[in-house]
């Protein structure tokens, strides 16, 4: 009972980390940059959805849609304000700039949304439940991995089956040649950041009913998701998703078997160990050096 319930927990959290980490993956593979404050975008998704749905009383579908749209737009804003100006200059201060923007948005939310953590009203997602092997599983717990994996699959199909998806892949594989095909790299990077924001928004909205909604809800998630992205080898969508599951399962299993005292120490120590052994992540590939 200990192990199966830990597996369910780990699977749910893991796909959440994976989903958030996919956001790091899309921007990194297209532009070699990330929104380091990805956690704050996730928070934005949850906060906006709550505001539209609960505070303003709009229909839930509209609330979700608008929140996701806003997150995608926010991704674009992050790129324009905190990433591009630095990349153009050849500086990597974008790392700190995205952190700064994250601090700003978290505090703006603190004053507009309120200091008070809020909770999503109960819905069928949390009230409906069924039993798998004697363990109670809520509908939402099932939905999170399903959505997470669907997005990974969707991302895969988008990039393999659609013109724009393939164009994005082309930018990843050879930016110069992609420009020669008439692909606008600047637009591709913006698109990647929009997608990154979208994924974070989805993660935020999905986690909201399980969690509490506040301006700081995303911080630790963001850091763990970054660990997951790095562990997965950041340039590999399946690797990132798999690393998310591994990380989530490791957390839950360590808690279940050794007790919660050691969870954070061990998971982060494992990250260091994994990178020491495989410097390009568990699923990453080394690039050939040239002079």
């Amino acid at each position: 009972m200990l192990i199966p319930s830990a597996l369910i927990t780990g699977f749910g959290l893991g796909s959440m980390y994976g989903l958030l980490a996919l956001g790091f993956y899309v921007t990194y593979s297209v532009s070699n940059t990330v929104n380091f404050a990805q956690g704050s975008t996730m928070m934005l998704g949850a906060v906006l959805c709550f505001t539209f749905w609960v505070t303003l009383g709009w229909p839930v579908w509209l609330a979700v849609l608008l929140a996701l749209l806003a997150c995608a737009l926010w991704g674009v804003v992050v790129e324009r304000v905190a990433v591009r100006p630095f990349v153009v200059r050849g500086s990597n201060a974008w790392l700190m700039a995205t952190v700064a923007l994250g601090i700003v948005v978290e505090n703006v939310v603190l004053f507009t949304f309120g200091k008070d953590p809020r909770g999503m009203p109960p819905s069928f997602l949390t009230s409906e439940a069924f039993f798998v092997a004697g363990i109670k599983v809520q509908a939402l717990q099932l939905m999170i991995p399903i959505v997470g994996l669907s997005i990974a699959v969707g991302l895969h199909l988008f990039s393999r089956r659609t013109k724009y998806g393939k164009a994005l892949l082309a930018v990843v594989q050879n930016p110069d040649a992609a420009q020669l095909m008439g692909i606008n790299i600047v637009a591709a990077v913006l698109l990647a950041f929009a997608m990154s924001g979208l994924f974070a928004g989805i993660a935020g909205i999905l986690i909201a009913p399980l969690f509490t909604i506040s301006s700081t809800m995303g911080t630790l998630f963001g850091i763990k998701a970054f660990a997951v992205a790095i562990l997965g080898g950041i340039g590999n969508a399946w690797g990132v998703m798999a690393a998310g599951l591994i990380y989530g399962l490791a957390e839950a299993l360590i808690t279940a078997l050794l007790g919660s005292t050691y969870t954070q120490i061990l998971t982060f120590a494992l990250v260091i160990l994994a990178l020491a052994i495989r410097p390009n992540g568990l699923f990453g590939q080394a690039s050939v050096q040239k002079v």
Binding site: P85, S91, M96, Q173, M181, G182, A227, Q264, L275
Partner: protein
């Protein structure tokens, strides 16, 4: 330190001392906190500023220092001073330990390792209760004292002031010491650092250890100052603040962390009345500073005061001939049966040759022949799968490249690898150390007069006549080449490897370079020259080794090789081509598609194209010829928009496009099939072709792709395969198909025959002739001049970035000058 700097520092220190004696307990605490934060920043500056490595784990070292002092003084009765010393040692050891995984990774991976480290330390402090007091932390940590006298806030502030000043001074010393220079060198170019004997692992580990040590000291004082520490005193966010301190202040600047600490610590205090809004303001301010002051505040403030390099040009003060010939002379460098493969392709296959001291041994061959790979094998950058490399009696194959360098093999690079943010003089000075930095010289500036004289003399010897204090990144192209050679010579080598030193040089500079190369050989050095400029090769070489497709095809004196038909064929390609010239009478239909006037382009300060004028008419096939390094590819990149900015005018059908970005030029109808094919390796053949039509709406794309597969039947067989798995010839066909499906108004091809087997080249050119006859407008660049002229209507010859000939293809072919442009004149002296 100059007198003025000394006076200023003394004045600031005095001001602070006065301030300390007038401040209240709160102000003293905040001031001390500024100092401690600055100390951590100074340490981080060693890592970030000098070695260019990021760490988000500094708070971990800070915590280690704090807990060491806290535990020892509170629970074990150790007095503060030995405890502080131990804190520094423990933190430094932790730094070295962390550097083991940290040095294996780069960029965001490194950031993650350090983040994880910070979390592990914080959590361990919380859980290791017996030692650390768990979440409750350690309380009642005694303040420092001297004998019976126990320090209060004021004395602690003075202590912190002293430590901050000392650390700042030591950083200034370090940054001018051999170690500091080695750190910058590794940061600017790890590869070049290794080739002058620096061990990057050692240098980076030192930087990690130093940054950890300083953080440990600051942490130790912090514990004693605040009297209370708990895991919550060391949250991860603090690491971000430390990074901010350095970035806001100005990375690498001596005063950067001080200014950064003042801002990062004091600002929130000034805003404390705003309580809840201050984080918002801090975030916004951060963003503004990062945007407006990329070099940090110190960089911004210092800019108006910065003098342009104005030093004198080097004088010969030491006898270089004596210096260079004093090395254990007379060692032959012999490569024997070298072999290496990349992804199944044998880049170098069974190559053997000897290079003797006092001789210039040139390695030549068409593009992709494996010349640079041979240099990389000798230099230790690659390990050969088979074969040996001996310098005298010593086998140097499979040694790490910094050990190869220390064994006496120095080198330069195809694209110069100078330490761009260091001065010219420092570039050479660090070379003089031959990788041996010495633990004792950590904070001793690297300014021995004898070394300075020697470095200056070396620069004079190679013919550099610019300023000594000029930053290397700002040098003209030719000067970069010369300084790189001087740096290589500074390591006192037995053998010198030169990788295309003449690339991008004009004729006069090339001639001077030739003289320098001869001179170096005559001093008894082994000189191995890889070069495309045949005029140079033929004029300086005692011996020429010719490679083609990884194998040695000829070996002999310059005259022997020049006369070898195999060599001539390898360079110019088969004259008789199955591709037909344009049928007589059917000329191009006229009307200018592309017209280029006064086009200029440069890489940094180095001009690559000068005043290019050319035009391509509708339906014409125009070839651009020239030796490697003449600027052909740059021309293609400039026309296609990949190289920006350019000066002059480029018109497509009357529309000026010289300022367009590459994707807009493609959209406008100029399509480049780039050098090296550049297919999208992970996409299928069909997807690659379809992407070619990205810009236009193609409702019937399926059929158009079919039509392309008709034209290139080889691709049909592999339509579902990933393009990366195709052979070179197939990739070239694919790149062509990808270009054609865009229905270009002008199709440009850059070196399409490069690296292809002869029968594939024939097939390719037959296709080009076909396209021409179908009325496609084509601009073609190919090293295989014979082939290109076979299908072209008109041709231009490019030399050193300028057009030297132009006219109908047949006329150009009959000129004797062409072969000369490619293979050079035998022992001819350049103008």
């Amino acid at each position: 330190m100059s007198l003025r700097a000394l006076l200023l520092s003394a004045a600031v220190t005095a001001l602070l001392v006065v301030a300390i004696f007038n401040a209240n307990g709160y102000e003293l605490y905040v001031l001390s906190l500024v100092g401690l934060t600055a100390i951590v920043g100074i340490g981080l500056n060693v890592l970030l500023g000098l070695t260019g490595q990021i760490s988000l784990g500094q708070v971990g070292f800070y915590a280690i220092g704090a807990y060491t002092v806290g535990i020892l003084t509170t629970n074990h009765g150790v007095s503060f001073w030995p405890a502080l010393l131990l804190a520094a040692v423990v933190a430094a050891i932790a730094g070295v330990a962390l550097s083991i995984p940290a040095l294996r990774v780069r960029g965001p991976y490194l950031a993650m390792v350090t983040i994880a480290f910070a979390f592990v330390i914080e959590q361990s402090a919380a859980e290791w209760r017996g030692l650390t007091g768990g979440w409750n932390g350690l309380m009642g940590i005694p303040t420092p004292g001297l004998a019976e006298f126990s320090f209060a806030e004021r004395e602690i502030a003075l202590l912190v002031l002293f430590l901050t000043a000392a650390m700042t001074y030591l950083y200034a010393r370090l940054s001018r010491s051999p170690w500091g220079k080695a750190m910058r060198a590794i940061r600017d170019s790890e590869v070049a650092g290794q080739s002058i004997g620096l061990n990057p692992m050692l240098v980076r580990t030192m930087a990690f250890a130093l940054s950890a040590l300083t953080a440990g000291v600051a942490g130790g004082v912090f514990a004693s100052m605040s009297g209370f520490i708990s895991p919550e005193s060391f949250p991860f966010f603090e690491s971000i603040l430390f990074l901010l301190v350095v970035m806001i202040g100005g990375a690498e600047r001596v005063l950067g962390p001080l200014v950064g600490a003042v801002i990062v610590v004091l600002l929130p205090e000034f805003l404390s009345a705003l309580a809840e809004y201050r984080l918002l303001l801090v975030g916004a301010l951060l963003l503004v500073v990062l945007r407006l002051a990329p070099g940090g505040i110190v960089g911004l403030l210092a800019r108006p005061f910065e003098k342009p390099a104005a030093g004198t040009s080097p004088q010969s003060k030491r006898d270089i001939v004596e210096f260079l010939s004093s090395r254990r002379g007379g060692q032959t460098l012999s490569a024997s049966r070298l072999r290496i493969a990349f992804g199944g392709v044998r880049a170098v296959d069974d190559v053997s040759f000897d290079a003797r001291p006092g001789e210039v041994t040139s390695v030549i061959g068409p593009n992709g022949a494996g010349k640079t790979t041979v240099l990389n094998l000798i230099g230790g950058f690659y390990d050969p799968e088979q074969g040996s490399i001996r310098l005298g009696d010593r086998d140097v194959a499979r040694l790490a490249s910094h050990k190869v360098a220390r064994a006496g093999i120095a080198r330069t690079y195809q694209t110069t690898q100078l330490f761009e943010h260091m001065s010219v003089l420092d570039n050479v000075m660090i070379g003089l150390r031959q990788g041996r930095l010495g633990a004792g010289s950590l904070v001793r500036p690297d300014e021995r007069p004898a070394d300075l004289d020697l470095a200056e003399s070396l620069l004079a010897f190679v013919g550099y006549d610019g300023a000594l204090d000029q930053s290397a990144g700002a040098l003209a192209h030719v000067d970069k080449r010369l300084v790189e050679i001087a740096r290589a010579l500074a390591t006192h080598p037995s053998a010198l490897l030169l990788d295309e030193p003449a690339a991008g040089l004009n004729a006069a500079d090339t001639a001077r370079l030739g003289e320098l190369v001869r001179q170096m050989a005559e001093l008894g050095l082994v000189v191995i020259l890889v070069e495309h400029d045949m005029r140079l090769v033929m004029s300086v070489s005692d011996r020429v080794v010719v490679l083609d497709a990884g194998r040695k095809i000829a070996d002999g004196t310059a005259a022997e090789v020049r006369a070898d038909p195999v060599v001539v064929n390898a360079y110019l390609g088969e004259e008789q081509s199955s591709a037909k010239p344009r049928p007589a009478g059917s000329t191009a239909t006229g009307g200018e598609v592309l017209s280029v006037s006064d086009l200029r382009a440069a890489y940094g300060a180095a001009p690559v194209l000068t005043d290019i004028d050319l035009h391509v008419d509708n339906g014409e096939l125009v070839a651009v010829l020239g030796a490697n390094g003449a600027g052909k590819s740059t021309l293609m990149r400039a026309l296609s928009g990949l190289h920006r900015p350019v000066q002059g005018r480029v018109c497509l059908l009357g529309r000026e496009i010289q300022n367009y970005a590459a994707h807009r030029i493609a959209d406008a109808g100029v399509v480049l099939v780039p050098e090296g094919r550049q297919v999208f390796p992970e996409l299928s053949v069909v997807d690659n072709i379809r992407l070619g039509a990205f810009c236009r709406s193609a409702p019937d794309l399926g059929n158009e792709v079919e039509a392309m597969l008709e034209r290139f039947p080889r691709l049909r067989e592999r339509r579902r395969q990933r393009a990366g798995l195709l052979s070179g010839g197939e990739q070239q066909m694919l790149a062509l198909a990808r270009g054609l499906i865009a229905r270009p108004k002008l199709l440009m091809l850059d070196e399409p025959s490069l690296g292809l087997a002869p029968h594939l080249i024939q097939e390719l050119y037959a296709t080009l002739a076909e396209l021409r006859d179908e009325g496609m407008t084509i601009l073609l660049v190919d090293q295989m001049a014979g082939l290109a002229l076979g299908v072209a209507d008109r041709a231009f010859v490019l030399e050193s970035g300028a057009i030297v000939h132009g006219g109908p293809a047949a006329e150009i072919r009959d000129q004797q000058g062409l072969e000369k442009a490619y293979l050079g004149e035998l022992h001819g002296t350049a103008p």
